[in-house]
Protein backbone atom coordinates (compact mmCIF):
# COMPACT_ATOMS: atom_id res chain seq x y z
CA UNK A 1 0.00 0.00 0.00
CA UNK A 2 1.12 3.52 -0.75
CA UNK A 3 0.41 6.39 1.63
CA UNK A 4 0.86 9.27 -0.79
CA UNK A 5 0.09 7.80 -4.19
CA UNK A 6 0.39 11.15 -5.98
CA UNK A 7 3.96 11.82 -4.95
CA UNK A 8 5.31 8.34 -4.44
CA UNK A 9 4.32 7.18 -7.92
CA UNK A 10 4.88 10.47 -9.73
CA UNK A 11 6.35 10.28 -13.24
CA UNK A 12 10.06 11.25 -13.21
CA UNK A 13 9.57 14.34 -15.32
CA UNK A 14 6.99 15.85 -12.99
CA UNK A 15 9.08 14.88 -9.97
CA UNK A 16 12.18 16.54 -11.38
CA UNK A 17 10.29 19.75 -12.05
CA UNK A 18 9.24 19.82 -8.40
CA UNK A 19 12.76 18.96 -7.25
CA UNK A 20 14.26 21.83 -9.23
CA UNK A 21 11.82 24.38 -7.87
CA UNK A 22 12.34 23.19 -4.31
CA UNK A 23 16.11 23.05 -4.72
CA UNK A 24 16.19 26.63 -6.01
CA UNK A 25 14.13 27.77 -3.03
CA UNK A 26 16.37 25.95 -0.57
CA UNK A 27 19.57 27.26 -2.10
CA UNK A 28 18.39 30.82 -2.04
CA UNK A 29 17.09 30.41 1.51
CA UNK A 30 20.35 29.06 2.93
CA UNK A 31 22.37 31.66 1.02
CA UNK A 32 20.35 34.43 2.59
CA UNK A 33 19.90 33.08 6.10
CA UNK A 34 22.88 30.90 7.04
CA UNK A 35 26.24 32.74 7.08
CA UNK A 36 28.09 29.43 6.74
CA UNK A 37 26.44 28.67 3.38
CA UNK A 38 26.85 32.20 2.06
CA UNK A 39 30.57 32.04 2.79
CA UNK A 40 30.94 28.57 1.25
CA UNK A 41 28.97 29.48 -1.87
CA UNK A 42 30.91 32.72 -2.29
CA UNK A 43 34.20 30.84 -1.96
CA UNK A 44 33.00 28.41 -4.64
CA UNK A 45 31.86 31.34 -6.80
CA UNK A 46 28.29 30.09 -6.98
CA UNK A 47 25.14 32.16 -6.53
CA UNK A 48 21.59 30.88 -6.05
CA UNK A 49 20.67 32.08 -9.54
CA UNK A 50 23.26 29.72 -11.03
CA UNK A 51 21.02 26.78 -10.18
CA UNK A 52 19.06 26.49 -13.40
CA UNK A 53 18.75 22.73 -13.68
CA UNK A 54 19.14 19.71 -11.41
CA UNK A 55 22.58 19.11 -12.93
CA UNK A 56 23.64 22.47 -11.47
CA UNK A 57 23.47 20.86 -8.03
CA UNK A 58 27.01 19.70 -8.76
CA UNK A 59 28.21 23.32 -8.66
CA UNK A 60 27.37 23.58 -4.97
CA UNK A 61 30.00 22.80 -2.36
CA UNK A 62 29.65 19.79 -0.05
CA UNK A 63 28.71 20.06 3.60
CA UNK A 64 30.65 17.91 6.07
CA UNK A 65 29.87 16.70 9.56
CA UNK A 66 32.76 18.88 10.74
CA UNK A 67 30.91 21.95 9.43
CA UNK A 68 27.91 21.09 11.59
CA UNK A 69 30.17 20.61 14.57
CA UNK A 70 31.87 23.95 14.05
CA UNK A 71 28.50 25.66 14.00
CA UNK A 72 27.35 23.91 17.18
CA UNK A 73 24.70 24.14 18.43
CA UNK A 74 22.37 26.30 16.32
CA UNK A 75 24.65 27.98 13.78
CA UNK A 76 23.29 26.03 10.81
CA UNK A 77 19.65 26.86 11.53
CA UNK A 78 18.00 28.84 8.77
CA UNK A 79 15.09 30.20 10.83
CA UNK A 80 14.97 32.22 14.06
CA UNK A 81 14.66 30.10 17.22
CA UNK A 82 11.09 31.45 17.54
CA UNK A 83 10.14 29.20 14.68
CA UNK A 84 11.95 26.10 15.93
CA UNK A 85 9.58 23.74 17.70
CA UNK A 86 11.82 20.71 18.15
CA UNK A 87 15.50 19.97 18.69
CA UNK A 88 17.18 16.60 18.24
CA UNK A 89 20.81 15.56 18.34
CA UNK A 90 22.79 12.78 16.76
CA UNK A 91 24.11 9.85 18.75
CA UNK A 92 27.54 10.81 17.43
CA UNK A 93 29.83 11.28 20.35
CA UNK A 94 32.90 12.75 18.69
CA UNK A 95 33.20 15.83 20.84
CA UNK A 96 29.90 17.67 20.54
CA UNK A 97 26.80 16.02 19.10
CA UNK A 98 25.24 17.25 15.87
CA UNK A 99 22.22 19.35 16.71
CA UNK A 100 19.27 19.60 14.35
CA UNK A 101 16.09 21.67 14.52
CA UNK A 102 12.57 21.43 13.13
CA UNK A 103 9.89 24.03 12.44
CA UNK A 104 6.24 23.04 12.88
CA UNK A 105 6.13 22.42 9.15
CA UNK A 106 9.29 20.28 9.30
CA UNK A 107 7.62 18.12 11.94
CA UNK A 108 4.63 17.77 9.61
CA UNK A 109 6.88 16.84 6.69
CA UNK A 110 8.70 14.31 8.82
CA UNK A 111 5.41 12.82 10.06
CA UNK A 112 4.20 12.49 6.47
CA UNK A 113 7.45 10.74 5.46
CA UNK A 114 7.21 8.40 8.42
CA UNK A 115 3.58 7.63 7.61
CA UNK A 116 4.77 6.75 4.08
CA UNK A 117 7.54 4.65 5.62
CA UNK A 118 5.20 2.75 7.91
CA UNK A 119 2.78 2.04 5.11
CA UNK A 120 5.62 0.90 2.82
CA UNK A 121 6.56 -1.47 5.64
CA UNK A 122 3.06 -2.93 5.75
CA UNK A 123 1.29 -0.78 8.35
CA UNK A 124 -2.21 0.66 7.96
CA UNK A 125 -4.35 2.79 10.25
CA UNK A 126 -5.79 -0.38 11.76
CA UNK A 127 -2.42 -1.51 13.11
CA UNK A 128 -0.94 -1.35 16.59
CA UNK A 129 2.68 -0.23 16.40
CA UNK A 130 5.11 -1.36 19.08
CA UNK A 131 7.72 1.38 18.86
CA UNK A 132 10.87 0.26 20.65
CA UNK A 133 13.17 2.90 19.13
CA UNK A 134 14.60 5.14 21.83
CA UNK A 135 12.65 8.30 22.63
CA UNK A 136 14.65 11.40 23.40
CA UNK A 137 17.30 13.37 21.54
CA UNK A 138 17.68 10.41 19.19
CA UNK A 139 15.32 10.85 16.24
CA UNK A 140 14.20 7.20 16.08
CA UNK A 141 11.52 7.10 18.76
CA UNK A 142 9.70 10.35 18.07
CA UNK A 143 10.10 10.00 14.31
CA UNK A 144 8.21 6.73 14.28
CA UNK A 145 5.76 8.00 16.87
CA UNK A 146 4.64 10.99 14.82
CA UNK A 147 4.47 8.87 11.67
CA UNK A 148 2.26 6.31 13.38
CA UNK A 149 -0.11 8.99 14.61
CA UNK A 150 -0.18 10.66 11.20
CA UNK A 151 -1.07 7.31 9.68
CA UNK A 152 -3.82 6.93 12.25
CA UNK A 153 -2.42 3.72 13.70
CA UNK A 154 -2.25 3.06 17.45
CA UNK A 155 1.25 3.55 18.77
CA UNK A 156 2.72 2.00 21.90
CA UNK A 157 5.54 4.41 22.84
CA UNK A 158 7.51 1.78 24.71
CA UNK A 159 11.00 3.09 23.79
CA UNK A 160 14.02 0.82 24.37
CA UNK A 161 14.95 -1.32 27.35
CA UNK A 162 13.09 -3.31 30.02
CA UNK A 163 12.75 -6.14 27.54
CA UNK A 164 10.71 -8.53 29.70
CA UNK A 165 8.06 -5.87 30.10
CA UNK A 166 8.15 -5.30 26.34
CA UNK A 167 7.44 -8.99 25.76
CA UNK A 168 4.57 -8.93 28.24
CA UNK A 169 3.05 -5.95 26.46
CA UNK A 170 3.48 -7.66 23.10
CA UNK A 171 1.56 -10.62 24.47
CA UNK A 172 -1.18 -8.58 26.14
CA UNK A 173 -1.66 -5.65 23.71
CA UNK A 174 -1.23 -7.65 20.52
CA UNK A 175 0.81 -5.15 18.47
CA UNK A 176 1.03 -5.98 14.76
CA UNK A 177 4.01 -3.86 13.68
CA UNK A 178 7.40 -3.79 15.42
CA UNK A 179 9.78 -0.87 15.04
CA UNK A 180 13.27 -1.02 16.58
CA UNK A 181 16.92 -1.65 15.67
CA UNK A 182 17.51 -5.07 14.09
CA UNK A 183 19.85 -6.15 16.89
CA UNK A 184 17.25 -5.24 19.49
CA UNK A 185 14.63 -7.23 17.57
CA UNK A 186 16.78 -10.33 17.89
CA UNK A 187 17.43 -9.62 21.53
CA UNK A 188 13.68 -9.34 22.20
CA UNK A 189 13.29 -12.71 20.48
CA UNK A 190 15.87 -14.27 22.81
CA UNK A 191 14.19 -12.84 25.90
CA UNK A 192 10.76 -13.99 24.69
CA UNK A 193 12.14 -17.47 24.20
CA UNK A 194 13.56 -17.51 27.73
CA UNK A 195 10.13 -16.43 28.98
CA UNK A 196 8.55 -19.30 27.09
CA UNK A 197 6.72 -17.02 24.65
CA UNK A 198 6.61 -18.05 21.02
CA UNK A 199 6.41 -15.25 18.46
CA UNK A 200 3.99 -17.41 16.47
CA UNK A 201 1.48 -16.79 19.22
CA UNK A 202 1.92 -13.03 18.84
CA UNK A 203 0.22 -10.91 16.20
CA UNK A 204 3.16 -9.27 14.45
CA UNK A 205 3.02 -9.18 10.69
CA UNK A 206 5.87 -6.81 9.88
CA UNK A 207 8.78 -4.96 11.38
CA UNK A 208 10.67 -1.86 10.25
CA UNK A 209 14.28 -2.06 11.34
CA UNK A 210 17.15 0.37 10.99
CA UNK A 211 19.56 2.84 12.67
CA UNK A 212 22.43 0.37 12.28
CA UNK A 213 23.87 -1.71 9.47
CA UNK A 214 22.48 -5.21 9.06
CA UNK A 215 22.62 -7.96 6.52
CA UNK A 216 20.36 -10.10 4.39
CA UNK A 217 21.26 -13.06 6.63
CA UNK A 218 20.14 -11.10 9.64
CA UNK A 219 16.88 -10.28 7.88
CA UNK A 220 16.22 -13.97 7.38
CA UNK A 221 17.02 -14.69 11.00
CA UNK A 222 14.69 -11.93 12.22
CA UNK A 223 11.89 -13.07 9.92
CA UNK A 224 12.25 -16.65 11.11
CA UNK A 225 12.61 -15.93 14.82
CA UNK A 226 10.00 -13.18 15.05
CA UNK A 227 7.62 -14.63 12.49
CA UNK A 228 7.17 -11.38 10.57
CA UNK A 229 8.30 -9.61 7.38
CA UNK A 230 11.31 -7.38 8.01
CA UNK A 231 12.07 -4.23 6.02
CA UNK A 232 15.07 -1.93 6.13
CA UNK A 233 14.76 1.78 6.84
CA UNK A 234 17.42 4.44 6.41
CA UNK A 235 17.79 7.90 7.80
CA UNK A 236 20.09 10.19 9.70
CA UNK A 237 19.33 13.12 11.94
CA UNK A 238 21.28 15.55 9.73
CA UNK A 239 18.85 14.88 6.88
CA UNK A 240 15.62 14.50 8.88
CA UNK A 241 15.97 11.36 11.02
CA UNK A 242 14.31 8.11 9.98
CA UNK A 243 12.18 8.57 6.88
CA UNK A 244 14.83 9.31 4.26
CA UNK A 245 14.24 5.96 2.56
CA UNK A 246 12.58 2.63 3.21
CA UNK A 247 12.07 -0.73 1.58
CA UNK A 248 8.60 -1.74 0.50
CA UNK A 249 7.19 -4.92 1.95
CA UNK A 250 6.13 -6.09 -1.52
CA UNK A 251 9.62 -6.30 -3.00
CA UNK A 252 12.01 -5.98 0.00
CA UNK A 253 14.54 -4.93 -2.57
CA UNK A 254 16.23 -1.59 -2.14
CA UNK A 255 15.09 1.45 -0.15
CA UNK A 256 12.86 4.00 -1.87
CA UNK A 257 14.26 7.47 -1.31
CA UNK A 258 11.64 10.16 -0.82
CA UNK A 259 13.02 12.25 -3.62
CA UNK A 260 10.37 14.91 -3.42
CA UNK A 261 12.14 15.97 -0.19
CA UNK A 262 15.74 14.82 -0.60
CA UNK A 263 17.98 14.71 -3.64
CA UNK A 264 20.45 11.81 -3.45
CA UNK A 265 23.83 11.61 -5.17
CA UNK A 266 26.52 8.97 -5.10
CA UNK A 267 30.09 10.23 -5.15
CA UNK A 268 33.59 8.86 -5.07
CA UNK A 269 34.57 9.66 -1.46
CA UNK A 270 38.17 10.46 -2.43
CA UNK A 271 37.78 12.49 -5.61
CA UNK A 272 34.29 13.81 -4.72
CA UNK A 273 33.28 13.12 -8.30
CA UNK A 274 29.59 12.31 -8.87
CA UNK A 275 29.14 8.69 -9.97
CA UNK A 276 26.45 7.30 -12.28
CA UNK A 277 23.57 5.13 -11.07
CA UNK A 278 24.62 1.58 -10.31
CA UNK A 279 28.08 2.55 -9.05
CA UNK A 280 29.02 1.99 -5.43
CA UNK A 281 30.06 5.14 -3.61
CA UNK A 282 29.24 7.53 -0.80
CA UNK A 283 25.69 8.81 -0.37
CA UNK A 284 25.23 12.57 -0.46
CA UNK A 285 21.89 14.23 0.30
CA UNK A 286 20.46 17.67 -0.26
CA UNK A 287 17.25 18.48 1.58
CA UNK A 288 14.80 20.49 -0.51
CA UNK A 289 11.84 21.09 1.79
CA UNK A 290 13.31 21.50 5.25
CA UNK A 291 12.98 24.90 6.87
CA UNK A 292 14.89 24.93 10.15
CA UNK A 293 17.86 22.79 9.18
CA UNK A 294 18.35 22.49 5.44
CA UNK A 295 21.56 20.79 4.32
CA UNK A 296 23.24 21.12 0.96
CA UNK A 297 25.12 18.13 -0.44
CA UNK A 298 25.70 16.54 2.95
CA UNK A 299 28.42 13.89 2.99
CA UNK A 300 26.80 10.99 4.88
CA UNK A 301 29.92 8.77 4.76
CA UNK A 302 27.55 5.85 4.17
CA UNK A 303 28.50 3.62 1.26
CA UNK A 304 25.66 2.48 -0.95
CA UNK A 305 24.46 2.40 -4.53
CA UNK A 306 21.53 4.05 -6.32
CA UNK A 307 19.36 2.41 -8.93
CA UNK A 308 16.57 4.11 -10.85
CA UNK A 309 14.51 1.18 -12.16
CA UNK A 310 10.90 1.48 -11.00
CA UNK A 311 9.85 -1.04 -8.37
CA UNK A 312 7.06 -3.52 -8.75
CA UNK A 313 5.29 -1.87 -5.82
CA UNK A 314 4.55 1.07 -8.12
CA UNK A 315 6.83 3.65 -6.50
CA UNK A 316 8.83 5.61 -9.05
CA UNK A 317 11.50 7.05 -6.80
CA UNK A 318 15.14 6.04 -6.93
CA UNK A 319 16.13 3.20 -4.65
CA UNK A 320 19.33 2.84 -2.66
CA UNK A 321 20.93 -0.46 -1.77
CA UNK A 322 21.61 -1.52 1.79
CA UNK A 323 24.30 0.58 3.41
CA UNK A 324 27.44 -1.48 2.84
CA UNK A 325 29.82 0.36 5.09
CA UNK A 326 31.37 3.72 5.83
CA UNK A 327 33.81 5.88 3.93
CA UNK A 328 35.33 6.90 7.26
CA UNK A 329 36.18 4.47 10.03
CA UNK A 330 33.06 5.06 12.11
CA UNK A 331 31.62 2.00 13.78
CA UNK A 332 28.05 1.62 14.91
CA UNK A 333 28.02 -0.44 18.09
CA UNK A 334 24.58 -1.23 19.41
CA UNK A 335 23.25 1.91 17.74
CA UNK A 336 25.99 4.20 19.09
CA UNK A 337 28.40 5.87 16.68
CA UNK A 338 31.98 5.20 17.68
CA UNK A 339 35.12 6.50 16.00
CA UNK A 340 38.40 4.69 16.68
CA UNK A 341 39.96 8.10 17.31
CA UNK A 342 37.71 8.53 20.36
CA UNK A 343 38.85 5.24 21.86
CA UNK A 344 42.39 6.25 21.03
CA UNK A 345 42.13 9.51 22.94
CA UNK A 346 40.71 7.69 25.96
CA UNK A 347 43.43 5.06 26.11
CA UNK A 348 46.14 7.62 25.43
CA UNK A 349 45.10 9.50 28.55
CA UNK A 350 46.44 6.58 30.57
CA UNK A 351 50.04 7.27 31.43
CA UNK A 352 52.46 4.99 29.65
CA UNK A 353 50.13 3.36 27.16
CA UNK A 354 51.48 3.33 23.64
CA UNK A 355 49.23 3.93 20.68
CA UNK A 356 49.21 0.28 19.76
CA UNK A 357 45.62 -0.73 20.00
CA UNK A 358 43.01 -2.36 17.91
CA UNK A 359 39.23 -2.54 18.04
CA UNK A 360 37.58 -5.86 17.34
CA UNK A 361 33.84 -5.87 16.76
CA UNK A 362 31.99 -9.11 16.84
CA UNK A 363 28.38 -10.10 17.01
CA UNK A 364 27.48 -12.63 19.64
CA UNK A 365 23.90 -13.73 19.19
CA UNK A 366 22.25 -10.44 18.37
CA UNK A 367 24.50 -8.13 20.35
CA UNK A 368 27.55 -6.32 19.09
CA UNK A 369 30.62 -6.76 21.23
CA UNK A 370 33.49 -4.34 21.17
CA UNK A 371 36.88 -5.51 22.38
CA UNK A 372 39.72 -3.04 22.69
CA UNK A 373 43.11 -4.73 22.51
CA UNK A 374 45.92 -2.77 24.12
CA UNK A 375 49.56 -3.80 24.04
CA UNK A 376 51.33 -4.09 27.36
CA UNK A 377 54.69 -2.37 27.53
CA UNK A 378 57.11 -2.09 30.45
CA UNK A 379 55.68 1.22 31.62
CA UNK A 380 52.26 -0.19 32.35
CA UNK A 381 53.28 -3.74 33.15
CA UNK A 382 53.12 -4.91 36.73
CA UNK A 383 53.99 -8.17 38.42
CA UNK A 384 50.66 -7.97 40.24
CA UNK A 385 47.48 -9.18 38.55
CA UNK A 386 45.29 -6.64 40.31
CA UNK A 387 47.18 -3.68 38.85
CA UNK A 388 46.73 -4.93 35.32
CA UNK A 389 43.09 -5.76 35.93
CA UNK A 390 42.49 -2.33 37.44
CA UNK A 391 43.93 -0.83 34.29
CA UNK A 392 41.55 -2.88 32.14
CA UNK A 393 38.53 -2.03 34.27
CA UNK A 394 39.54 1.65 34.42
CA UNK A 395 39.73 1.91 30.65
CA UNK A 396 36.41 0.11 30.30
CA UNK A 397 34.82 2.56 32.70
CA UNK A 398 36.21 5.58 30.84
CA UNK A 399 35.02 4.25 27.49
CA UNK A 400 31.56 3.60 28.91
CA UNK A 401 31.38 7.06 30.46
CA UNK A 402 32.72 8.99 27.50
CA UNK A 403 31.16 7.05 24.63
CA UNK A 404 28.16 5.41 26.24
CA UNK A 405 29.13 2.04 24.88
CA UNK A 406 30.36 -0.99 26.81
CA UNK A 407 33.66 -2.38 25.66
CA UNK A 408 35.95 -5.09 26.93
CA UNK A 409 39.56 -4.06 27.27
CA UNK A 410 42.04 -6.85 26.75
CA UNK A 411 45.75 -6.51 27.38
CA UNK A 412 47.89 -8.27 24.82
CA UNK A 413 51.59 -8.95 24.37
CA UNK A 414 53.68 -6.35 22.57
CA UNK A 415 53.93 -6.54 18.79
CA UNK A 416 50.92 -8.83 18.59
CA UNK A 417 48.72 -6.16 17.05
CA UNK A 418 49.30 -6.30 13.36
CA UNK A 419 51.44 -3.44 12.09
CA UNK A 420 50.71 -2.22 8.65
CA UNK A 421 52.74 -0.02 6.41
CA UNK A 422 51.17 3.40 6.35
CA UNK A 423 47.72 3.53 7.88
CA UNK A 424 47.31 1.33 10.95
CA UNK A 425 44.58 -1.25 10.91
CA UNK A 426 42.59 0.00 13.86
CA UNK A 427 39.39 -1.88 13.37
CA UNK A 428 38.61 -5.50 12.71
CA UNK A 429 34.90 -5.86 12.09
CA UNK A 430 33.95 -9.51 12.24
CA UNK A 431 30.23 -8.85 12.00
CA UNK A 432 28.61 -10.38 8.96
CA UNK A 433 27.01 -7.35 7.40
Amino acid sequence: MIYNEEYETMPREALEAIQLRRLQNTVSRVYNTVPFYRKRFDEAGVKPEHIQSLEDLGKLPFTYKEDLRQNYPFGMFSVPMDNVVRIHASSGTTGKPTVVGYTARDVQTWSELMARTLMAGGATKGDIIHNAYGYGLFTGGLGFHYGAEKLGASVIPISGGNTKRQVMIMKDFGPTILTCTPSYALYIAEVAEEMGIDFRQLKFKAGIFGAEPWSETMRQEIERKLNLKAVDIYGLSEIIGPGVSVECIEAQSGLHIFEDHFIPEIIDPDTEEVLPYGTVGELVFTTITKEAFPVIRYRTRDISVLYPEPCRCGRTMVRMGRVQGRSDDMLIIRGVNVFPSQIESIIMETEGIEPHYQLVVDREGSMDNLTVMVEVNEKIFSDEIKNLQNMERGLEKNIKEMLGVSARVKLVEPKTIQRSEGKAVRVIDKRQI
Binding site: E378, F381, S382, I385, L388, E392, E413
Partner: protein
Protein backbone atom coordinates in the same frame (compact mmCIF):
# COMPACT_ATOMS: atom_id res chain seq x y z
CA UNK B 1 68.39 -9.32 51.69
CA UNK B 2 66.63 -8.38 48.49
CA UNK B 3 66.10 -10.78 45.66
CA UNK B 4 65.60 -9.77 42.04
CA UNK B 5 62.58 -11.34 40.43
CA UNK B 6 61.65 -10.92 36.80
CA UNK B 7 58.05 -11.03 35.63
CA UNK B 8 56.80 -11.64 32.12
CA UNK B 9 53.45 -10.75 30.60
CA UNK B 10 51.88 -13.71 28.83
CA UNK B 11 48.70 -13.84 26.85
CA UNK B 12 46.62 -16.90 27.56
CA UNK B 13 47.34 -18.74 24.40
CA UNK B 14 48.98 -22.01 23.58
CA UNK B 15 52.75 -22.15 23.53
CA UNK B 16 53.60 -18.82 25.20
CA UNK B 17 54.98 -20.34 28.38
CA UNK B 18 56.95 -22.89 26.38
CA UNK B 19 58.36 -20.02 24.33
CA UNK B 20 59.71 -18.39 27.49
CA UNK B 21 61.31 -21.60 28.78
CA UNK B 22 62.77 -22.29 25.34
CA UNK B 23 64.41 -18.86 25.20
CA UNK B 24 65.75 -19.21 28.74
CA UNK B 25 67.01 -22.72 28.07
CA UNK B 26 68.85 -21.61 24.94
CA UNK B 27 70.32 -18.69 26.87
CA UNK B 28 71.60 -21.11 29.49
CA UNK B 29 69.48 -19.51 32.20
CA UNK B 30 68.58 -21.66 35.14
CA UNK B 31 65.21 -21.13 36.82
CA UNK B 32 65.43 -21.19 40.63
CA UNK B 33 61.79 -20.59 41.42
CA UNK B 34 58.68 -19.67 39.51
CA UNK B 35 55.05 -18.87 39.90
CA UNK B 36 52.38 -18.25 37.29
CA UNK B 37 49.39 -16.08 38.12
CA UNK B 38 46.65 -16.06 35.57
CA UNK B 39 43.29 -14.57 34.62
CA UNK B 40 41.09 -15.65 31.74
CA UNK B 41 42.95 -13.30 29.40
CA UNK B 42 46.52 -13.11 30.52
CA UNK B 43 49.08 -14.45 32.94
CA UNK B 44 52.08 -13.11 34.76
CA UNK B 45 55.03 -15.43 34.98
CA UNK B 46 57.36 -14.60 37.87
CA UNK B 47 60.81 -16.08 37.89
CA UNK B 48 63.89 -16.12 39.99
CA UNK B 49 66.82 -17.13 37.83
CA UNK B 50 70.56 -17.44 38.14
CA UNK B 51 71.15 -14.37 35.92
CA UNK B 52 68.25 -11.97 35.87
CA UNK B 53 70.03 -9.30 33.79
CA UNK B 54 70.71 -11.69 30.98
CA UNK B 55 67.30 -13.35 31.25
CA UNK B 56 65.58 -9.99 30.98
CA UNK B 57 67.69 -8.95 28.05
CA UNK B 58 67.09 -12.07 25.96
CA UNK B 59 63.38 -12.16 26.71
CA UNK B 60 63.07 -8.52 25.65
CA UNK B 61 64.96 -9.31 22.48
CA UNK B 62 62.22 -11.82 21.74
CA UNK B 63 59.56 -9.18 22.19
CA UNK B 64 58.30 -10.02 25.68
CA UNK B 65 57.30 -7.37 28.17
CA UNK B 66 59.53 -8.00 31.16
CA UNK B 67 59.37 -6.32 34.54
CA UNK B 68 61.74 -6.45 37.47
CA UNK B 69 60.66 -6.49 41.08
CA UNK B 70 62.44 -6.91 44.35
CA UNK B 71 61.12 -9.68 46.53
CA UNK B 72 62.16 -11.21 49.82
CA UNK B 73 63.28 -14.83 50.18
CA UNK B 74 62.92 -16.47 53.53
CA UNK B 75 64.23 -19.82 54.66
CA UNK B 76 62.06 -21.98 56.79
CA UNK B 77 62.35 -25.50 58.11
CA UNK B 78 60.43 -27.92 55.90
CA UNK B 79 57.99 -29.20 58.49
CA UNK B 80 54.34 -28.64 59.47
CA UNK B 81 53.63 -25.14 60.71
CA UNK B 82 56.72 -23.64 59.07
CA UNK B 83 54.84 -21.28 56.74
CA UNK B 84 52.25 -20.46 59.33
CA UNK B 85 54.88 -19.22 61.77
CA UNK B 86 56.12 -16.68 59.23
CA UNK B 87 52.61 -15.54 58.26
CA UNK B 88 51.70 -15.04 61.93
CA UNK B 89 54.69 -12.77 62.41
CA UNK B 90 53.71 -10.71 59.37
CA UNK B 91 50.05 -10.60 60.35
CA UNK B 92 50.83 -9.37 63.85
CA UNK B 93 53.05 -6.64 62.40
CA UNK B 94 50.23 -5.64 59.98
CA UNK B 95 52.35 -6.37 56.96
CA UNK B 96 50.41 -7.21 53.86
CA UNK B 97 51.62 -9.94 51.49
CA UNK B 98 50.93 -9.00 47.89
CA UNK B 99 51.66 -12.54 46.77
CA UNK B 100 54.00 -15.40 47.60
CA UNK B 101 55.22 -18.71 46.35
CA UNK B 102 57.51 -21.39 47.69
CA UNK B 103 59.96 -24.08 46.71
CA UNK B 104 61.81 -26.79 48.58
CA UNK B 105 65.59 -26.90 48.49
CA UNK B 106 67.41 -29.84 47.03
CA UNK B 107 68.59 -31.01 50.42
CA UNK B 108 64.97 -31.34 51.45
CA UNK B 109 65.76 -29.81 54.83
CA UNK B 110 64.51 -26.32 54.22
CA UNK B 111 61.84 -24.60 52.17
CA UNK B 112 62.30 -21.18 50.59
CA UNK B 113 59.40 -18.74 50.64
CA UNK B 114 59.35 -15.86 48.17
CA UNK B 115 57.34 -12.85 49.34
CA UNK B 116 56.27 -9.73 47.53
CA UNK B 117 55.67 -6.87 49.95
CA UNK B 118 54.76 -3.27 49.40
CA UNK B 119 57.22 -2.17 52.02
CA UNK B 120 60.21 -4.46 51.81
CA UNK B 121 62.29 -2.71 54.44
CA UNK B 122 59.59 -2.92 57.09
CA UNK B 123 58.94 -6.58 56.29
CA UNK B 124 62.61 -7.58 56.40
CA UNK B 125 63.05 -5.72 59.65
CA UNK B 126 60.13 -7.54 61.28
CA UNK B 127 61.23 -10.92 60.00
CA UNK B 128 64.81 -10.48 61.21
CA UNK B 129 63.73 -9.23 64.61
CA UNK B 130 61.74 -12.44 64.97
CA UNK B 131 64.70 -14.60 64.11
CA UNK B 132 63.64 -15.56 60.58
CA UNK B 133 66.42 -16.26 58.09
CA UNK B 134 66.23 -13.89 55.15
CA UNK B 135 68.29 -15.19 52.24
CA UNK B 136 70.57 -12.90 50.25
CA UNK B 137 69.97 -12.68 46.53
CA UNK B 138 73.46 -13.90 45.63
CA UNK B 139 73.02 -17.04 47.65
CA UNK B 140 69.61 -17.78 46.16
CA UNK B 141 70.69 -17.28 42.52
CA UNK B 142 73.42 -19.87 42.94
CA UNK B 143 71.52 -22.37 45.04
Amino acid sequence: MRVEQISIFLENKAGRLAEVTRILGQGNINIRALSLADTSDFGILRLIVNDHEKAKEILKEHGFTVGRTEVVAVEVEDKPGGLNKILQILFEAHINVEYMYAFVQQSGQNAVLIFRFDDIDAAVDVLRRNGVTVIEGKKLYSM
